[in-house]
Amino acid sequence: MQIKRLELYGFKTFAKRTTIDFTSGMSAIVGPNGSGKSNIVDAVRWVLGEQSAKTLRGAKMNDVIFKGSDSQRQLNFAEVTLVFDNHNQTLPLDYREVSVTRRVYRSGESEYLLNKQQVRLQDIHQLFLDTGVGKSSFSIIGQGQVARILDSKPQERRAIFEEAA
């Protein structure tokens, strides 16, 4: 279930439609402070169904919509699409490629698409539940968070392990 492609449009600093084609193996994202690297990581969390604005570093969920800058005015929606290679059938769907899209409008409305079909947020959560990409998995380690597991209480750590197991 490798990531093939990430498309961002209106998500945080990605005011222009941007497509990132990923390869297998090890990819490195580089660039100056504030250029948008961690915003890419936020986009992956978000399209996988993240519900905490705080985890996305905002105060409310539509803080992810491009707010404007000196060079462009704000946008009214944010959209991210994540495309997976599914020929291992890790995702329980009969497709070789699976795409997940999440859209939010400034009005607050949200849309979720699975292979271009409208679904509910809980369908997205359900889909990824047994793939090791769920909520508390180790798939995504955010900036500044790596040593957090050392600060956990022994029982919190146990809960994390239970989820991994």
Binding site: Q2, I3, K12, T13, F14, A15, T18, I20, F22, T23, S24, G25, M26, S27, A28, I29, V30, G31, P32, G34, S35, G36, K37, S38, I40, V41, V44, G68, S69, D70, S71, Q72, F84, T131, G132, V133, S137, F138, S139, I140, I141, G142, Q143, G144, Q145, V146, A147, R148, I149, L150, K153, P154, Q155, E156, R157, R158, F161, E162, A164, A165
Partner: protein
């Protein structure tokens, strides 16, 4: 205790000790289940000893030692329960160059089986990547993706 948890825990325990010794070039690392009245109240403690040093509270470890220990635990868990992809955002910020290189080699070897996407501003990590993606802000406040070669990325980080 859940048999499946017990088995997984034992495997992670072994992997953690192994990864730590490789990453630190020695030393010992133990995962320990704490005592409790009921099995499901037991927690997990880390008892760690960098090479040549005594075992002490995790809090006394240096910034770099703590980051590297956490990285070892992450790799141990991934070794036992592989994930389809792993995204790491500047996890090696506290590491010195020597440890960055060790970390980068490790990620690269794991990336044969798992896809790794790392955000980094460290040269050692960039050198081990199969592909580099540059993010810049050519227009005020707007991110642009640019393709970068290693030498261009290196120039970018060498001010």
């Amino acid at each position: 205790m859940n048999q499946r948890f017990q088995t997984t825990f034992t495997q992670i325990q072994t992997a953690f000790a192994d990864v730590f010794a490789q990453m630190f070039g020695g030393g010992t690392a133990r995962l320990v289940l704490t005592d409790a009245e009921y099995e499901d109240e037991r927690g997990i403690e880390l008892h760690v000893q960098p090479p040549g040093k005594k075992m002490q509270h995790l809090s006394l470890l240096s910034g770099g030692e703590r980051a590297l220990t956490a990285i070892c635990l992450l790799f141990a868990i991934i070794r036992v329960r592989p994930v389809p992809f792993s995204i790491l955002d500047e996890v090696e910020a506290a590491l010195d160059e020597h440890n960055v290189n060790r970390f980068a080699k490790y990620v690269h070897s794991y990336s044969q089986d798992s896809q790794f996407i790392v955000v980094t501003h460290r040269q050692g990590t960039m050198e081990m990547a199969d592909a580099l993606y540059g993010v810049t802000m050519q227009q005020a406040g707007i991110s642009t993706l640019v393709s970068v070669r290693l030498d261009e990325a290196q120039k970018m980080i060498q001010s």
